[in-house]
């Protein structure tokens, strides 16, 4: 059960392989990764992610614990970055393993929905001219209702 809140870049492929290598008897592995996208109208210089040290790890730990109690999982992993990120870099990833695919998929979606709206991270998009905090989306809050 790896949880890492870090400023450093990480290698999706290496993390995926390390996660899989640690499994035993799991038939299904799901990963999600979020990548910094450029803005439609204005090139982004960088994304700044602020977080709440201490609470972040605690909140993610509780979300992972909830996923493990709801689905039949072998393991789960969450890596989330903060600080300066550039377009194309990975922001975060989750990975889940389970005997069967439905559990692995649902748990990964649950983790993502909760990380989006319940883990204390805030994204700011910095362009040549300005800097804007990303607004939370209603659809992200509503996504929690399905669980």
């Amino acid at each position: 059960m790896k949880i890492s809140v870090q400023a450093e870049q990480f290698d999706m492929g290496a993390e995926t392989n390390a996660f899989i290598a640690a499994q035993n008897g799991m038939g299904a592995i799901v990963t999600f990764s979020g990548i910094v996208r450029d803005l439609a109208d204005n090139p982004m210089r960088y994304m700044e992610i602020e977080h709440y040290p201490g609470m972040t790890e605690k909140a993610i730990g509780e979300i992972v614990k909830e996923a493990v109690s709801r689905w039949s999982l072998g393991d789960a992993c969450v890596i989330h970055r903060y600080g300066h990120l550039h377009v194309g870099e990975p922001i975060m990833m989750v990975a889940t393993s389970a005997p069967h695919r439905v559990d692995a998929f649902e748990a990964a979606e649950f983790l993502m929905d909760y990380l989006k709206s319940r883990a204390p991270f805030w994204k700011k998009e910095v362009t040549q001219n300005d800097a804007n905090w990303v607004d939370a989306k209603n659809e992200d809050e509503e996504a929690l209702n399905r669980w």
């Binding site: 977080h51 609470m55 975060m92 993502m112 709206s117 991270f121 805030w122 905090w133 990303v134 607004d135």
Partner: protein, 82 residues
């Protein structure tokens, strides 16, 4: 003494990341009222509570939450992780 923390645009509007406050406020709402009276920058930051979230001792809660024994209160906009 309570440690009060601000994140994202709340931090930017208030101009600091955290401060220690001597307060008798019994709930988060009472603390917010005290802060709003301090200075205009606080009043502005707390003008629309529907745009704010609060955590007491690192647990997300609501504005009715009592502050008895609380060590740390944090104010911030809705989270945008993932």
């Amino acid at each position: 003494m309570i440690k009060v923390m601000y994140f994202a645009w709340v931090r930017e509007r208030i101009g600091e990341a955290s401060e220690s406050i001597e307060t008798e406020a019994a709930t988060v709402s009472e603390l917010i009222e005290e802060l709003r009276c301090k200075e205009p920058r606080y009043n502005m930051a707390f003008s629309d509570l529907s745009a704010l979230r609060v955590a007491v001792d690192q647990t997300l809660t609501d504005f009715d939450c009592p502050l008895a024994d609380a060590k740390e209160v944090a104010f911030f906009p809705p989270m945008t992780g993932g």
